[in-house]
């Protein structure tokens, strides 16, 4: 696979800081996300990766800093508004609609991007999404599960569904928080394959937090390393792998 | 000017009562996350019990349908010696009953069952609305349907210093509530038990790790709430009589006070209580007596609109 990326930034993150009481969880983090790339975010546990995501996607209000999407400052937008304008995400902890079918989970994830609220009231429940959704279900090899309640799926399948929900609306950037976390080895290859596939064939842009180094080094074009809320370094997987600071952060912490 | 002072003082007196009832409401919210929509009935029921158990001429007996003792008058009648002994005895007898019924039983039968950590609060809201209905209608059917006069512990005296009419009841209420609030603050800040309780309210997880019996501390706040509502019932009833339907307004004004002041701080609930009392009396005096309650309610809507954490509350990130 060739990793080719053009240089136009879709998302510009500037000086994000977030403090919880005496704990500076995120400290002045800035980076760009370029169209079509997979950007890895790594760092030891508790270094603020999830908090950073929460600040970028609007779940938390950062103390400082801004996020721009296509040159528009979206820092004051609500989470749904950001989502509708193309910032999708998953959470570190599995978040799916357990009492709804797999297909309905995906339709929910896609429907707000179609038509106005008023039009949605008068659309058929499938909203013409069936083809698209089934396509994705097919690609994620879950066709036999399409009508199953999401709560009844295995953990790995739920994790995959969660990721699929972030991607079904073809977002400008999808922020995935540990998409492979807790997924068993056989599923892992599957997850990696799907993500690469979406990136290569559909040009999906993604920011991925991941603990599994092999996984993220294989996928990412570029990696941001965080430590204690700050950006320690940024570079290609090879640069990161060979940087002594990174080794120290990971080994020193243990 | 005289009228203004007069209105403000009686506003402070009503406010003091709202303050202690709002504090009880806020305590349950903080420690247990429980929203009690029967809070007003929790004030009304002890008032009725006090009347039943202890006035000199009991007007309320045991309901007829209770076997054997039904229809009997149970009030403790003592010769009046300047002090309303019957009332005070009734109060003393009501406190343990309230702690059991409105504290313990309420906690174990409803709150513990309906409130899962991190869960939704709507089931408890629904159940407490049912509880309020139950208590209200029970008192209406089993005890009395018409408002019963309720004597004041502080008598009916009046003073007129400089033309400002001040009733003994108002002053008594303000003094009594100040003492109650002071005692509560002392308990929380200065005693070991109180500090444990505060720790449990602030962060149950950490408190548990530190070996604080969190559940027992939560139960303690329920008991404190029961005592506070009983006091509130004793103090508020002379002005409004003991009545089965008093709870709707009392409850609403108590949460109004708690929300206006700020739920997440006892201090907020206190200030909110006084503010509600004063505004209520001002709007009664200067707007129209018919719209006495409108002032606080409008303020409530305004506060939720512009400052949902309350005037004295702090905006906080969700602790997750």
């Amino acid at each position: 696979m060739t990793k080719t990326v053009d240089n136009e930034p879709v998302v510009r993150v500037r000086n994000i800081s977030k403090r919880f009481g005496g704990n500076q969880a995120v400290d002045d983090v800035s980076f760009d996300v370029t169209k079509g790339e997979i950007l890895g975010v790594i760092g030891p546990n508790g270094c603020g990766k999830s908090t950073l995501f929460n600040c970028l996607l609007g779940q938390y209000r950062p103390d400082n800093g801004s996020i721009e999407l296509d040159g528009i400052d979206v820092s004051d937008w609500s989470p749904p508004r950001r989502a509708k304008h193309g910032l999708a995400r998953t959470f570190q902890l599995l978040q799916i609609f357990e009492t709804m079918s797999v297909r309905d989970n995906l339709k929910t994830a896609a429907q707000e991007h179609i038509g106005s609220a008023a039009r949605r009231l008068f659309m058929r429940p499938d909203m013409g999404l069936d083809g698209e959704v089934d396509d994705l279900i097919e690609r994620f090899r879950m066709a036999h599960l399409a009508d199953e309640l999401a709560g009844n799926l295995s953990y790995g399948q739920q994790k995959l569904l969660d990721t699929a929900m972030a991607l079904v609306s073809k977002p400008a950037v999808a922020f995935l928080d540990e998409p492979a976390g807790g997924v068993n080895l056989t599923m892992l290859a599957d997850v990696e394959q799907q993500i690469r596939d979406l990136n290569v064939h559909d040009g999906a842009t993604m920011v991925i937090v991941e603990h599994n180094m092999e996984f993220i080094f294989a996928l990412a074009h570029r990696i941001v390393v965080m430590a204690e809320g700050r950006v320690l370094m940024e570079g290609t997987p090879d640069e990161v792998r060979n940087d002594p600071r990174v080794v120290e952060v990971y080994l020193g912490g243990h | 000017m005289e009228q203004f002072l007069q209105v403000t003082i009686s506003g402070l007196a009503t406010g003091a009562i709202f303050a202690i009832s709002a504090v009880g409401f806020a305590l349950l919210w903080q420690t247990a996350g429980a929203v009690n929509f029967a809070h007003g009935e929790f004030i009304m029921v002890p008032a009725v019990l006090i009347l039943a158990l202890g006035t000199q001429e009991p007007t309320v007996g045991i309901p007829d349908f209770i076997p054997l003792i039904g229809g009997a008058n149970i009030g403790v009648a003592l010769p009046s010696a300047g002090l309303p002994w019957g009332l005070l005895i009734g109060f003393a007898l009501t406190i343990p009953i309230a702690i059991f019924l409105l504290g313990y039983l309420f906690k174990v039968s409803l709150v513990d069952r309906l409130l899962q950590p991190g869960g939704d609060d709507i089931p408890l809201v629904i159940a407490t609305i049912g509880l309020g209905l139950f208590l209200r209608e029970y008192v209406h059917e089993a005890w009395f349907a018409t408002p019963q006069p309720f004597p004041s512990v502080f008598g009916n005296g009046f003073w007129r210093p400089g033309g400002v009419a001040i009733s003994a009841d108002d002053i008594g209420i303000i003094v009594a509530c100040t003492i109650v609030i002071g005692a509560l603050q002392f308990f929380i800040k200065r005693t070991y038990l109180g500090r444990q309780m505060e720790a449990a309210a602030q962060n149950a997880e950490t408190a548990r790790v530190l070996g604080i019996p969190v559940n027992r501390m939560v139960l303690l706040t329920f008991a404190i709430n029961a005592v506070l509502v009983t006091i509130a019932g004793l103090l508020v009833s002379p002005a409004i009589n003991a009545r089965w339907d008093a709870g709707i307004n009392l409850g609403l004004l108590a949460f109004t006070a708690a929300i206006i002041g700020g739920f997440n701080q006892v201090r907020g609930a206190l200030y909110g209580g006084f503010l509600v009392g004063v505004i209520q009396n001002w709007s009664g005096a200067y707007l129209s007596t018919l719209y006495r309650d409108a002032g606080p309610l409008l303020l409530l809507i305004l506060v939720i609109l512009v400052r949902p954490q309350g005037l004295f509350g702090r905006a906080e990130e969700r602790r997750i």
């Binding site: 959470f91 357990e98 949605r120 | 209905l133 969700r318």
Partner: protein, 419 residues
């Protein structure tokens, strides 16, 4: 107490909700998951049965009626068939349509041979049923407690009656000459007025999660009562207004006979059910369901939790407003006391008892507070004591309500039959 106590659970003031921590599951309690999203026939049958049972109950009413008895038996049969036939087969579909049709037909034919008093009860059942249908949209589907349905009923009643009288009113010293609109035209006006007001009060209350809407609507109810009671120039205060039914017709049908007016209520009930059914089956329904299941996730996927919830509340309130217009004519006399919090509590009971988040629940609940309550009058108000107890017990043992329990029962039977 503590000066730095953290807001427990879902009370963050800036509405933030992150879902990363294991101790914060953000799952709404599954009180409203029994979401059939459709008119479940067996439930309708059950309701009709309840209605029929009530209709034939000899207590204080003209006695047994042969037609009702037959109908009662056929409904029993239908319920039996329903329990036995799985719903998602072709036969199940047919059973559904047949029993729905039976229900509609029954309600339509019901007035035959009934006394005026019975029809007054059933007219009230239809109107209050519509309020409960709306309240169920707010509470069962949008997951928020509104304590203002009686206030909206009142606003609807007064709006409609005042606009239909063509008299002068004075508010705050300003005298306005109100038009004399036809009754039918006042219904949509009542609905729209209530929807606008509910958006006005719901918007701030739904800014943060938590039971704020319950508080605000309770405050609103009291304010409405104060205004209705005290604005003499507008509402004639506690004296109330006599509403005459003998001077109006709908589509040429004289509405004076109670039997005829019953149909007006019945159509409104069907209208409300259709509105809610439509919303629930549209993509909005899916969004509402997603919000109940996991609102944080829904919001991160673009579902605007606040707007959807607000709309659910507004539509629910609007339905109560329209019902108010009919209610005024049904009782022929309106006064502020009829719209006080007590009445809301009745609607609330009906909603909870019938079953949140089901379409048939409100019908069961509605019959509980009108028909059943009327037959229980002989207990004084004791039945209200039991209702209160019932709500508490139900939240503890069967939070999904009667309809939900019935669905659960059917699922249980189906499982038995399958295996």
């Amino acid at each position: 107490m503590a000066e730095s106590v953290n807001v427990p659970q879902s009370k963050a003031a800036d509405g933030s909700d992150a879902l990363d921590q294991p101790d914060f599951e953000n799952r709404r309690d599954k009180i409203a998951i029994v979401d059939r999203g459709r008119l479940s026939p067996s439930l309708i049958a059950l309701v009709s049965m309840l209605g029929a049972a009530v209709a034939v109950m000899p207590v204080g009413r003209a006695g047994f009626d042969g037609v009702i008895g037959l109908w009662f038996l056929s409904v029993l049969l239908l319920v039996g068939v329903n329990v036995a036939v799985p719903l998602d087969t072709r036969n199940g579909q047919m059973v559904r349509w047949i029993s729905t049709a039976t229900f509609v037909a029954f309600m339509m034919l019901f007035p035959i041979g009934k006394s005026g008093a019975t029809m007054t009860d059933f007219g009230l059942f239809a109107i209050f049923g519509a309020v409960v249908v709306g309240m169920n949209l707010t509470q069962g589907f949008a997951g928020q407690v509104s304590l203002a349905p009686a206030a909206f009923l009142g606003i609807g009643s007064y709006t409609s009656v005042l606009l239909d009288m063509g008299e002068e009113v004075t508010v705050a010293g300003v005298t306005v000459d109100l038009p004399d609109l036809p009754f039918l035209a006042t219904i949509p006006i009542a609905i729209v007025v209530c929807m606008l007001l509910s958006v006005l009060i719901g918007f701030p209350a739904l800014r943060v999660r938590g039971p704020w809407l319950a508080f605000v609507t309770l405050a609103f109810s009291l304010l409405v009562f104060l205004v209705l009671n005290n604005e003499d120039g507008l509402t004639r205060g506690s004296r109330g207004i006599r509403v005459l039914r003998n001077d109006f017709e709908i589509f040429g049908i004289d509405m004076l006979p109670t039997h005829n007016f019953y149909y007006a209520g019945l159509f409104y009930l069907f209208f409300s059910l259709t509105v809610v059914w439509w919303i629930v089956r549209s993509p909005w329904g899916r969004a509402l369901k997603a919000i109940r299941d996991n609102s944080g996730r829904a919001s991160s996927l673009g579902v605007d939790v606040r707007n959807y919830t607000l709309l659910g509340f507004a539509v629910g309130s609007g339905l109560a407003g329209g019902a108010g217009a009919l209610y005024a004519r049904q009782v022929e006399y309106i006064e502020p006391r009829s719209y006080f919090v007590n009445q809301t509590i009745d609607f609330f009971l009906a909603t909870v008892a019938g079953g949140l988040g089901t379409l048939a629940g409100p019908l069961i609940g509605g019959s509980l507070i009108t028909l059943v309550a009327d037959y229980l009058r002989f207990t004084g108000d004791w039945y209200r004591v039991w209702f209160g107890l019932f709500v508490m017990v139900m939240m503890v043992v069967a939070p999904e309500g009667l309809a939900g329990s019935f669905n659960r029962f059917r699922a249980w039977v189906q499982k038995r039959v399958d295996s």
